[in-house]
Amino acid sequence: MPLTVAQYSPPPAYVAPAADQDDHRFGSEFATDAIRSEMSQLRVAEFNYPLRRICRASFIPVAGEFLVEEFSAFVGHGASIEAAREDWALRVHAAFQELLHKRPFELTADEKRVWSVLSSNIDVAVYRNQMPLQVIQFGRVSQARPYPSQIQWDDGTREDIQIRQVDAADFITYKPGQPFEAVVARDPVSYRLKRIVHIQRRSEPARLSADEEAKLLDSIGSSKTLPAGDWE
């Protein structure tokens, strides 16, 4: 079976308070008052959204609303401050991920407005540069002394690997020449291998014989089978 990158299921959100402030510093003199705090980072599970500035957060107990002044497009709802804050963070997380992967020309007017709010408060370049790229790659172990130490990818390039970079216990048993397919986490800037997050052995790939190759070549269609265009 070909590999697929595992779907992400969102774990609970966490909005970190400013470095010098803890949750207990949320407070007010009266029950009807908004409870205010500062927010220096936004983390949702393992994802860190680098904020450009410290933001001002408020929880309004009567309405059960969590608001952040700088993120005017988002309101979190919940009976408690924790629940409302988590709801808020998940809304930001969902909107950011949705819009991050849209091209600018695909954004509607509303989406442009939301993206403007998000990108003016979250440093998108820093976010992109810190999130590993996950690539499906095919290769084989090219060196094992005595454990796998080098991989040759199917484009011919070789890369050193350390056992601790592979999230699969039995990788240590792979012998030289063992073909595999893997999901590789790479640095988005340098493209260096950071981890192999999934790996599985594959059987030796089938190869076409010379006759089969010749038959295939003869049977490949040309673009003349595609719709005809014009010179306009």
Partner: protein, 345 residues
């Protein structure tokens, strides 16, 4: 829709992004270069409608294998020209392995050639955007299998979106344009031309160049994909001259010594002095020198982003780039080919 003319150094890659996390890749840059794959992933591309290689030279086909691995099961069709070195390419080896292991079907492989009319290689669901191939002809394709000049049978592609047009000329040669001109019977107008053969010789005389850029093609903007350290003399001054003489605005992905008084040290222009790096490109590497210590991968326009909107074509930060080239004219050694009469050839 967006089109990226990627700064891959001395090579070619253009990526068309029609939206919905899809892309069409035309050529893949240098051998074993993962820059194109990195670009596709950073821009969130999940599916390749077409993976097109115009011919089998390494600077066009080289980066394909890593893309084929990463996008396995997520490529609509693989389009190629079967020239005489194709069967020895890593691209074909990988393609037939995918077929042998039942990961692709025969119908996903398409040999590019045209009949009496251009063929539609891809079109969007509404059929308002279409990519056609203009060359090679079936006869040229057949000759290519025994020939020795893959450039002379490179695919020529034509993107049309409403009134806007982009031509991807890859490494096509003058003979192909004569055939295209004969078949079309008209001057081909386009907003953006990805210049043939990195602005190099196309087995053409100066007269051929004049004819090509005056009678055959009419481009508002031309993008030359060339690497700083290339040893082929790309782009040639007579090619740039022919384009600018016909009123075409010329951009190059990287600056070469030919724009710097023939001096190979261009470090004072790095990184991306002419245009800050806003998109991934080979010239984003800082302090990248050849083994002999000469500059390489110094941005001029860098990766060029073209957006086709309902109202026309926008080249991102074009005015900034033009101002930067004009400023360069005031430096001691600089003589940008796109601005001044050529001093070297």
């Amino acid at each position: 829709m967006e089109i990226f003319c990627l700064d891959v150094g001395q090579g070619t890659c253009q990526v068309i992004m029609p939206g919905q996390r899809k892309a069409i890749v035309i050529d893949c840059g240098l051998q074993n270069d993962k820059l194109v794959l990195q670009f596709l992933q950073r821009t969130g591309v999940e599916y390749l409608e077409r993976l097109i290689v115009s011919h089998s030279h390494d600077d066009h086909i080289g980066g394909a294998v890593s893309i084929m691995g990463a996008y396995q099961g997520r490529v609509g069709k693989y389009c190629f020209v079967q020239d005489h070195i194709f069967l020895r390419s890593a691209f074909w080896t990988r393609l037939k392995d995918l077929y042998a292991n039942k990961r692709i079907t025969r119908d996903q492989m398409v040999r590019l050639e045209v009949g009496d009319k251009p063929q539609v290689v891809w079109q969007d669901e509404s059929r308002s955007i279409r990519l056609q191939t203009f060359s090679p002809s079936a006869v040229e394709n057949l000759m290519a299998q025994d020939g020795e000049k893959p450039n002379a049978t490179s695919a020529v592609l034509f993107l049309q979106s409403g009134a806007n047009r982009v031509i991807f000329a890859t490494d096509s040669e003058a003979s192909q344009w004569k055939e295209i001109h004969r078949a079309s019977g008209r001057k081909l107008k386009c907003d953006v031309l990805a210049v043939p053969h990195h602005g190099g010789r196309m087995h053409s005389s100066k007269r051929d160049l004049k004819w090509l850029y005056e009678d055959v093609l009419s481009a508002t903007t031309a993008v030359v994909s060339a690497g700083t350290s290339n040893t082929h003399g790309h782009p040639r001054s007579d090619v740039i001259e022919a384009m600018t003489a016909s009123g075409t605005n010329v951009l190059c992905t990287q600056i070469t010594r030919r724009c710097n008084g023939n001096v190979r040290d261009l470090e004072h222009l790095r990184p991306g002095v002419l245009r800050p790096q806003t998109h991934l490109g080979r010239s984003s590497a800082v302090g990248d020198l050849t083994d002999s210590g000469h500059s390489r991968n110094v941005a001029c326009a860098g990766t060029v982003r073209v957006e086709i909107t309902a109202t026309g074509v926008i080249l991102e930060r074009l005015a900034d780039h033009q101002r930067a080239v004009d400023r360069l004219l005031r430096t001691a050694t600089a003589c940008p080919l796109c601005r001044v009469a050529p001093r070297v050839n």
